[in-house]
């Protein structure tokens, strides 16, 4: 059974940045876009497992810090011409608090 888990407040995630959540399912990167949308991906690039949480966030994408693969925050897909996908997690914000579905 999956359930919503309280993570942190929205303000504790920097805009165009991320926080890493250590969970039983591995490290999860929780991103915040410029327009305050929040996304959660497995913190591992489909290419060579680079920590996506450490990449540069722009629009709804993140560039992996190791080899600059561009990963969609929305669905975890690598952008053309690269191929691969990182697992996504559901995340929501309520009253300034961020919840992750695990």
């Amino acid at each position: 059974m999956s359930q919503w888990t309280k993570i942190t407040t929205l303000s504790e995630i920097p805009k165009l940045g991320s926080r890493v959540v250590r969970s039983a399912k591995g490290d999860i990167a929780v991103f915040r876009t410029d327009d305050d949308r929040v996304f959660a991906l497995h913190d591992s690039c489909p290419h060579k497992k680079g920590p996506l949480s450490q990449g540069i966030v722009y629009g709804d994408k993140v560039a992996c810090p190791l080899h600059s693969w561009q990963i969609s925050l929305v669905d975890g897909h690598a952008q053309d011409p690269d191929e691969g996908q990182t697992a996504c997690f559901s995340v929501k914000v309520e009253d300034g608090m961020v919840y992750l579905e695990l």
Binding site: P14, S18, R19, D34, D35, G50, G55, I56, K61, P65
Partner: protein
Amino acid sequence: MEKMKLVVVGNGMAGMRTVEELLKISPDLYDITVFGDEPHPNYNRIMLSPVLAGEQTIDDIILNSREWYAENNITLHTGKKIHKIDRRLRMAFAEDGTFALYDRMLIATGSTPFMLPIPGKDLKGVIGFRDIKDVDAMIATAGTHKHAVVIGGGLLGLEAANGLKIQGMDVTVIHKNEWLLERQLDKTAGLMLQRSLEAKGLSFKLNMDTKQLIGENGHVKAIQFEDGSELAADLVVMAVGIRPNYALAESAGIHCDRGIVVNDTMQTFDPRVYSVGECVAHRGISYGLVAPLFEMAKVCANHLANFGIGQYKGSVTSTKLKVTGIDLFSAGDFTGNEDTEEIVLHDAVGGIYKKIVIKDDKIIGSVLYGDTTDGSWYFQLLRDGKPIHEIRDNLMFGQDSLGNTGHEGQDKVSAMTDEMEVCGCNGVCKGTIVKAIQEKGLFSIDDVKKQTKAGSSCGSCVGLVEQILVSTLGGGYAPPSSAKTICGCSDKGHEEIRQQIRDNKYLNIPDAIKGMAWRTPNGCATCRPALNYYLISTWPHEAVDDPQSRFINERVHANIQKDGTYSVIPRMYGGVTTPSQLRKIADVADKYAVPMVKVTGGQRIDLLGVKKEDLVDMWADLDMPSGYAYSKGIRTVKTCVGSEFCRFGTQNSTQMGIDIEKAFDHMWAPHKVKFAVSGCPRNCAESGIKDVGIIGVDSGWEMYVGGNGGIKTEVAQFLCKVKTSDEVLEYSGAFIQIYREEARYLDRTVHWIERVGLEYVKRRVIEDAEGRKAAYERLLYALQGAVEPWSERVKKRNEHKEFEDITI
């Protein structure tokens, strides 16, 4: 709201390239309908020669499959020729009665081969060389007949002749001029080419005019010349030129003058109608090569998307013959006249001929035969109109941009086999790149980088990739202009962006992106780090330094490693350390179980494999300043022992190195900056391969700039000689400051100097004493009050929650 309707007449490379460019920047603006008179989807016409030669198949050269049209919601009508446009009703009608309404129209009807108006031209077996149908006819004839005649010794004619020969026919090329390719080659190169082609089994009849074609039962049988002589011919290919297809546009009342007349925005005299490709006459010129078409497509798409920027100002073209085993290249005015100079290298036995035509210190044309390695370099110098006196001595011997590491020392792609590795970083072979260019329809270095990864890591093989593009595409390749745009988010170049940041005093990234009309809301991973650097270097102490626009290494002040751990390198000024420092480093390495301790190339110690959460504690324990080993900024100042201990030393190089490293500590730059100071000309600190290399001599210090020991070894060039160590600081500081202010982000000093010229640097740093002092002052001002990042992070460790992981 209903979308506007765009009707594209012509389903060829120019039209579809425009549609692709349009979809890239404005995918939802139009409902698009495409009419093409050929039964095929868009294919790569310039690859027809390899198809005829049996090196490619039709499927290989399809650029846009039918699925592509469907995916992009484009209505495609193949095999339907538009024969009437009603501009009042805004409708286009095909011969079979199909019609379409338009709000805007793009005419890209291309060209047709010019057929000599001689008796017999309508006989069966007399064809042009333009489309798949022609290629099919040639291959079919080759299966049953023997004698082929190609009229026209131009590029297309020779490629057709070569293909027919490979298909097994006896081929004779008829040419009315004294030598082949007279529009691309001078006589010397033309004769060399003829000899090579004769060695391949082709026959030539030069200075010949065709009188008529003789038929039998409606099929061509022979060709007769003006002098009465005859030659057997089962197939005649006319390749004497092309004619723009503008009859349709003209019949619709659109102004034409030997082509559809367009302005610099590719608009015809009807504002709703645009036109691109071989059918247009732009400033009186029609182009028959693919590179200009792509430039037109880009401009046209921009205007169709209502962005209204971008102008097409005509193209300088270059050509290359796509005949396997023959290397020739030509561009610009290669004939010259009494106002021009020539540099010529001619090795008749080795089969190499190179000619560069120069006027007013600029290259205006070039012909290369046998060795075309430097063709694209000359072409770029030509297009950019770059003064060449500084490089004139070496011009003939090539750019020397090759010979880098990572590809077995190869610098000539023609000498490489398909299996040889071009890109040593990503393991990409020559054959893979050639195949991708041909089958995926790639036309630029960026295309190749994206599709194959070759050249996308360290970049040392880009020169080879460019050669492969040139040899595979011929005239289809246009080298990128040196005024390149920052990234896909903006059409502006680096210089323009820096200027606008200065003029408008942008102090943060959101203002800059908004003010300069970026296409994306917050840039991308390419432009944001560049913008951030431009802001803080232009407005020190005022601009906001945005950590989210910095690469992770600069954000956390450590180097990320392949497994997500980091490396910690403290400063050791001038490479000098002490026993207590070493003890401290050893203790820290023990305490945090550092997996590897390594001495770096920059004379300091690297603690590798550190977990991110240990970084701050480690810095606290180390109590040493950051070595900035992760930065686009000042890295190390490497020194030799110098006069304090060395029996050869003439100057105290260690102290000089320490002084420089302390003076310029914390400095950000467009790329990493490395110094070295040697105490005598034996140069043990390797000053010759550093951004700034100082060499002590008995009477003072020599300064060298623009060296590089990395991807490509670049020897630093002599800048000047000074007397005192204060002068060393002032001169090198001024040099670095001007580099900081004017270079493009990710330019090393060598790349910047290559672009502006050493003379310029000398003028700014040596001749202009006031300017030098002012530049040095600006650097010192920028560095004033700089904060040591590690101790700062230790002090404010509780404020930076973002670096802490959340455990659940």
